[in-house]
Subunit: 414 residues, 2 copies
């Protein structure tokens, strides 16, 4: 008998038939004696339908009213799932964010959760109900409806699990777990039984769409065990939890190979090497709300230096225009841009205690003739920027070099 929070996304509740399937799954957990809180998203397509209605009226509708509008999507799903559970003889009650109440700040369309009142939910669970909660939404201290932004339902689930001190937070999705890398790129990609919060964060930030970064951060902060599972297939999924010390021999050095094709590179050449130059370059970029990922500054020669950073491809043109203005102001020599790059990362908490991960990575890439353009490292990750056309080749070489490939019979099944 455990208390489990389960989250089903838009595709998993995309039709009445799928809501019925979700109800079967939830009812199965109830039959095994567990207390269940279910967090649901809007039926797939519904949020876009609502946004489209708003945009027929205004390009930039007032955020407060956008939240009033789109929050109805999840509310519809909660009612339908509660009905489907009641049809199966399971007592169930739906809640929207305001009813729970999930108190947030007042940053409409991107609010952050401040506090969750768990009194009503505990009372309902004690009375034998499945509690069905609308994901993605909350309420500010003045009673205005807020939303947490896209993907916020994962965050709702984790925050509820933390508040209720749940034994596990299960995120149901369209994959059966977290993989060592994208199975579409490497046939032998393996499902991981376990991964740490830190590793998952690095994998997620590299474009792995299984979980929202915010939800993983939240889970790590409050130590909520997260499990990624397939909505409509049985299986153990992948458990995301704190690093476990008890079995260090079996801890793999490397958890997986993550990658991202969505970045572009901006370089400013011949910048005078003086204090504050990095701020002079990145300050205006940040003010323009352009997010910067990898930043590399070379060692200065002849009192001038080169400065390179990556941004999202969709921001490249804007970033380049700003950078050219900065170059003029600083008297820099040249600005270069390149959108044909990819970022690849080797991720694993094990690398903290294992020397040689970096050299093994660089050797594996050299062996297949791939040139490395930029390198950054963190405690549990080494990332390189390479030419985009070599991406698949690089991922396969690294996946194999770090011993992540599955057994041969699985390889042939692809």
């Amino acid at each position: 008998m455990a208390l489990i929070v389960q989250k089903f996304g838009g595709t998993s509740v995309g039709s009445v038939e799928r809501i019925e399937q979700v109800a079967d799954k939830v009812a199965g957990f109830r039959d095994r004696g567990h207390d269940i809180v279910v967090v649901v998203s809007a039926m797939s397509g519904e949020t876009n339908r609502l946004i489209d209605l708003a945009q027929q009226i205004q390009d930039q509708p007032v955020p407060r009213e956008m939240d009033v509008l789109v929050s109805t999507g999840e509310q519809v799903t909660t009612a339908l799932l509660a009905m489907a559970l009641q049809k199966r003889g399971k007592a169930a009650k739906s809640y929207n964010g305001s009813q729970v109440r999930i108190l947030t700040d007042d940053a409409h369309t991107k609010a952050r959760i401040r506090e969750i009142d768990d009194a009503r939910l505990h009372a309902d669970l004690d009375a034998g109900n499945v509690v069905v909660v609308a994901g993605f939404q909350g309420v500010d201290e003045h009673g205005n409806i807020t939303t947490l932004g896209r993907g916020g339902s994962d965050t709702t689930a984790v925050a509820l699990a933390a508040a209720l001190k749940a034994d596990e937070c299960q995120i149901y999705t369209d994959v059966d777990g977290v993989y060592t890398t994208d199975p579409r790129v490497v046939d032998g990609a393996k499902r991981l039984d376990k991964i740490t919060f830190e590793e998952m964060l690095e994998m997620a930030s590299m474009g792995s769409k299984v979980l929202q970064i915010r939800a993983v951060e939240f889970a790590g902060k409050y130590n909520v065990p997260l499990r990624v599972l397939h909505s409509f297939q049985d299986g153990p999924g992948t458990l995301i939890s704190l690093e476990e010390e008890e079995d260090p021999m079996e801890t793999p050095t490397i958890a997986g190979i993550a990658f991202n094709r969505d970045e572009a590179k901006l370089t400013i050449l011949g910048v005078p090497d003086m204090p504050g130059v990095a701020f002079k370059i990145l300050g205006p970029i940040g003010q323009a709300n352009i997010e910067v990922d990898v930043i590399v500054q070379n060692v200065a020669e002849d009192n001038s230096t080169d400065f390179t950073f990556t941004v999202s491809r969709s921001e490249l043109a804007r970033g380049e225009a700003i950078l050219k203005q900065i170059a003029t102001e600083l008297g820099a020599r040249e600005v270069r841009s390149d959108s044909r790059i990819a970022k690849i990362s080797v991720v694993g908490v094990g690398m903290r205690s294992h020397a040689g991960v970096a050299s093994q990575m660089f050797e594996a890439l050299a062996d297949v003739g791939i040139n490395i353009q930029m390198i950054t490292t963190s405690e549990i990750k080494i990332s390189v920027i390479i030419e985009e056309k070599f991406l698949e080749l690089a991922v396969r070489a690294l996946h194999s070099s770090f011993g992540l490939d599955a057994e041969p019979q699985e390889e042939s099944a692809a």
Copy 2:
């Protein structure tokens, strides 16, 4: 400068284009300096779409969850209308029933309003906002979402007008006012400038779909002046208010001719004439939740009497089955049913002080050869049941007899 509550139904907000038109109208009132509270229904078709989703899951979903589901429809409209007003430079804020808060009892899907907190709305109005409120919904004392049942948006508007002490409650609809009778039946039907609450109640209860009965009752109880207007045409509409004494000479004796084709007649013949027999007949009918309208009991002869009543046609079969069982128990002679009837009423507060309305009505019907099957009377109404095929003939005869026909040039325009 007045405080006006305006209600727009589902057809009036049935598309983004229509919501924009409503926003134009509301903005026009703001420009003339009025404070405006707008009550909206769900976009036409939306409530049925939601009910259909629910019924794919369960024939009889739990009422609490039905309310959670369908209340989203109005919430969507409030957000879209607020956006459309903001686009026109008018400050606007949307509210759902729970936010206002419109406190109701806990009778889900047919809740009754207990209390309205007007503090937030007054503050928003004082700050220059148009306040847009979701009709049809409220919240019980435990925070559960409730709905007032179909047509409840009219009731929301009137209740808000009463709570806010509004100068007028305007109900926008697809007709330009209340008519002396149905213009589809009588070419010369006239729009009334004024009608009293009592008259409107009698007209509405006879199937005139312009306003919900509950809303008129509510308006009468709290003396909220109600005005029926066309959503997309200009015009004065019809003002529904307390009986005015100042100009008795011009008060017409009769306000209008109402009718209803939706009733059927059940007769039980040869019932023993003894105390309690009416209860023995109507008790089981009421317990089966069948609503009874006209009830007539003839004077007893030979210790036995005949008892006739009308029910909704859709309930005729059920009512007849129950009545046959009662007939057996009471030793009555026979049960007869007839669904080919119509009910016609002459309505007017003026008849209180004018003798001869009944005889004029019966004479007008006799002149065109129509037989009267049943008669009931109230303070301001005389109703007769006739054969359905004579309905149009009867309405025209009465409309003309009581001098309600419009001037000739309007008659020829039909």
